[in-house]
Symmetry: C2
Subunit: 178 residues, 2 copies
């Protein structure tokens, strides 16, 4: 497959570029994320699970694992912890006894909303670092190349959930200036 | 700073987009990287340190930490392990007694070259997932938006080292078809 379509050198250069950029970007995102959620006694996996459950409105553990890019056992264990804290609830469906569905409780929703309200209490280096692009183009970058690569790796399902979750924020959040 | 320049909703949407994309991209890169280096008894940090030392030709531990986006203690501990395995050597400079300089030994170079030769022995999902873009545009994506954001977060130094390391590959590797 793809024989002769690219040279080893091209692959090497590209792989170093994407490796270095994706590591640096993720580490910056991770640090901002950790600073933001620290006061709420959540780790990144827990917050990610809460957030996915909120946007998917009845996700299965395997949906959460897939969309959260985490192992099923990680998704399960942290969901269990969030359930014990009263932030998530588990249910079965009559039509589907095999899967466990995860829903955000009113307490979970309240917590997520409080976190959004306090979003600007911590530094978000990635947002700050993107402002010069917004100044030039009038909007934050949309990373079409990254999106295309991820669609090819993770599939259309993954991107559909991604777009749906962004749509939810777009519909639910009222515009409010910083 | 940046008061009223973007709404909370815009920040929220952008932060979810970049969070989700950067996590998914990094996890795919990480998996490809792990599969590639597994036969050589190295972890990602160790390989990254070897690679940085190779391209920087006399890096300090703090250069490695900065460019490798890792803690100084991580950079130090794994460099020490690589030194014990004979893949790196440490030295002091007469002009600078405070810093320890790290160099790749001939054994380290030989290992890195062997790894590049065997690059195609494992799957690189990120390369495979980028091929449709190469088919359309004639080259692998260059991620200009991500690069700009990272330059703003990590500074010009970081990008200079990045460009230098890519240049090194460009000059040293002979074109060879897959």
């Amino acid at each position: 497959m793809n024989e002769e379509f690219y040279t080893l050198k091209e692959a090497m250069l590209y792989s170093q570029r994407i490796g270095q950029l994706s590591k640096a970007l993720w580490k910056a995102v991770e640090k901002d994320w950790q600073n933001w959620i620290k006061p709420y006694d959540l780790n990144i996996n827990e917050h990610h699970i809460l957030w996915i459950s909120y946007h998917l409105e009845g996700a299965t553990i395997s949906d959460i694992a897939k969309f959260g890019v985490m192992h099923v056992s990680t998704a399960f264990n942290f969901s269990k912890k969030l359930e014990e804290r009263g932030l998530l609830s588990f249910s079965k469906r009559d039509t589907d006894k095999r899967n466990t569905y995860v829903n955000v409780t009113p307490e979970g929703k309240e917590l997520l909303e409080r976190m959004y309200e306090n979003y600007h209490d911590t530094t978000h280096s990635v947002i700050e670092g993107s402002i010069p692009i917004k100044e030039i183009y009038g909007k934050f970058p949309d990373f079409m190349e990254v999106t295309a690569v991820i669609r090819n790796i993770y599939g259309d399902d993954f991107m559909d959930i991604f777009e749906k979750s962004l749509q939810n924020i777009d519909n639910s959040t009222k515009p409010k200036s910083k």
